[in-house]
């Protein structure tokens, strides 16, 4: 690395030169490595541990037009005590809602240790002016959100206007104040793994505390190889700058098996230091019920049924 990272963003040309100077991703190799790590067999006590760890990393999410304060309160109750019949189940890491419902969630979660995350910056498309995006971020922070999930402007990124994306992230980071900033790359729209690597570095240089795969509104959402590329980016970023950034795959993670594959991937790529809710999250809604069903199966020895868990 010839240019110090601080100066990389001084102009469009230096930023472009830096991002395009990142080594290319071997697509076939990344796919093969992610698939190979997905075949690891995690059973019995290790599986039990993995399930509890995964529950503690879940960002329980509801991002629907039809969300109501009642639904958010019900989800918050589930976040604190995922299985009411079993107090040994750990609470989830955070709940993730739209900005207007942050106050409801903060009220419902006060004192529980579960954080409130809010999407912002014209989620999910990110198509608005910087002023509107910053104002929305301030709104969510003022309502009490401890974490902000912003989306990048994919149109600008794909058009090569990296500086615009950088400045938006930096401005949002400033608006966040003490709140953590998660930057959603929407990898399903970035087309190549090279772009995912570039977007990851761009977000980290601009000040992201977390990089997140997807909004959950675009298919494909989170995939193992994309997460692998992002985990490599945070690992290399730590080596280059000494600053540690978290990773959050979101969308399309529905089963315990999927979740455990992600944990293996984290352990083998970024290392066990990232296996903590402060550094790795799983954005999901239906995943939690599957984790609870698997946990109950291991406790009782019989397959669990969805009738015995709350709908969400």
């Amino acid at each position: 690395m010839t240019t110090p990272l601080a100066e990389v963003a001084s102009s469009t040309s230096t930023l472009r030169a830096f991002l395009h100077g990142l080594p290319g991703v071997d697509r076939v190799g990344a796919d093969a490595r992610a698939a190979m790590l997905g075949t690891r067999s995690i059973k019995t006590t290790a599986k039990k541990q993995a399930i509890d760890m995964a529950i503690g990393m879940v960002d329980l999410t509801t991002l629907e037009g039809a969300d109501t304060p009642g639904k958010v309160r019900a989800m918050c109750a589930k976040a604190v005590r995922p299985d009411p019949s079993d107090p040994t189940v750990p609470r989830v890491a955070a709940v993730c809602v739209y900005p207007d419902l942050v106050a409801t969630a903060v009220e419902a979660l006060r004192g529980s240790g579960v954080k409130v995350a809010s999407v912002a910056t014209s989620f999910p498309s990110g198509r608005s002016s910087l002023d509107v995006k910053v104002a929305e971020t301030r709104l969510a922070v003022a309502a009490g959100a401890a974490e902000i999930d912003m989306v990048i402007d994919r149109g600008a990124f794909l058009a090569g206007d990296y500086l615009k994306v950088y400045e938006e992230i930096a401005a949002t980071k400033e608006a966040c104040g003490d709140s953590h900033l998660k930057v959603i790359l929407e990898t399903g729209e970035l087309a190549t793994y090279d772009n995912v690597r570039r977007a990851s570095w761009l977000a980290m240089i601009a000040g992201a505390d977390f990089i997140k795969t997807s909004t959950g509104k675009v298919s494909p959402a989170a995939t193992l190889p994309v997460t692998l590329v992002m985990l490599e980016a945070v690992r290399d970023f730590l080596a280059a700058t000494g600053r540690k950034v978290g990773v959050k795959p979101a969308g399309g993670i529905r089963t315990t098996k999927d979740a455990i594959k992600y944990l293996v991937l984290v352990n083998e790529t970024a290392g066990p230091d990232w296996l903590h809710p402060d550094w790795f999250r799983l954005g999901a809604s239906s995943l939690l019920n599957d984790l609870l069903m698997q946990r109950q199966k291991m406790a009782t020895g019989r397959y669990a049924g969805p009738d015995y868990f709350t709908l969400d």
């Binding site: 020895g301 019989r302 397959y303 669990a304 049924g305 009738d307």
Partner: protein, 288 residues
């Protein structure tokens, strides 16, 4: 000119409308009653059973929500398809041994007739077991039967085709979906039946057929919290007791195995249909 190579059929499971091998990769040798090799069949594991339950659960809303008329048509269609494969079933039944071609042919005919008979019941069972109840008040009070849900079936260990169809048809005609463990010794007609079901407009997952050991798989189904009923017709007494105990955990409906040998050619009556029906009663005010 070289001799043409024989194309041997691979007998697999039937889950969610597809024909997967067992997740466990296991198989077992199926022999005739005299001990001659017939084929290798998949030996299903508990995870195959779990997948089958998931498929049956997924199929339930669509199948139970279909009109009775539509379900009847599809059962009739199964009969049509089965009739077209008569020769194949006769060959499989006679290869297993114990019966001649004439007797096997009679069995297949009886199976087709059984399906047609149950097909006719789809839109009549409600009228027979439902009722308009007299009550002391200004209400219409109506009881109507509804399907129980996902039913796990241990198919009879004798009558590999007629016995099998005689336990599947009454379960699905009323709108239930099922996971069936086929006869362990003679599973080949069950897999051929799956090919019939797959080409009969029956939605995938309504019937799932597993081959293998009932003693190994049935307890997992009986204990499964997402299964609503078990039919233990083909379970031996010891297995039936185990399964019934496991079924108690979430109050499954249990159809116990028959006390003695069953004559599958006899009139089946309504018992097998009503065993897997729930009665819903609604009160509706009059004159408002």
């Amino acid at each position: 000119m070289s001799e043409r190579l024989a194309v041997r059929k691979t007998y697999k499971l039937f889950i969610g409308g597809a024909f997967p091998r067992s997740e466990s990769g296991r198989s077992y040798v199926v022999t005739s009653s005299k001990g001659d090799f017939l084929a290798n069949a998949a030996r299903a594991s508990r995870k195959d059973a779990r997948d089958a339950v998931a498929a049956a659960r997924k199929a339930f809303p669509g199948w139970s929500g279909a009109t009775a008329y539509n379900r009847g048509q599809i059962l009739y269609r199964i009969a049509e398809m089965l009739e077209g494969r008569r020769a194949q079933f006769v060959a499989e039944i006679t290869a297993f041994g114990g019966v001649g071609a004439k007797q096997a042919g009679d069995m297949v005919d009886a199976t087709v007739d059984r399906l047609v008979w149950y097909a006719g019941w789809s839109d009549k069972i409600g009228a027979v077991v439902g009722s308009a109840n007299p009550v002391a008040g200004p209400y219409f009070n109506l009881s109507s039967p509804e399907p129980t849900g996902v039913v796990a079936v241990v198919a009879p260990q004798e009558g590999p085709l007629l016995g099998l169809v005689s336990v599947i048809a009454p379960v699905i005609v009323t709108g239930n979906t099922c996971v069936v463990i086929a006869c362990e010794r003679a599973p080949l007609p069950a897999i051929t039946l799956a090919e019939v079901l797959a080409t009969s407009d029956l939605p995938g997952g309504v019937v799932n057929i597993l081959t293998g050991s009932p003693a190994e798989i049935a307890p997992w189904l009986a204990g499964h919290m997402d299964v609503n009923a078990v039919d233990l017709t083909g379970a031996d007494p010891e297995l039936a007791v185990t399964c019934e105990e496991l079924a108690a955990e979430n109050l499954k409906r249990v159809l116990r195995p028959p006390a003695g040998p069953v004559n599958w050619l006899a009139d089946p009556g309504l018992e097998r249909m009503t065993a897997f029906l729930e009665t819903k009663t609604v009160w509706h005010p009059i004159g408002v």
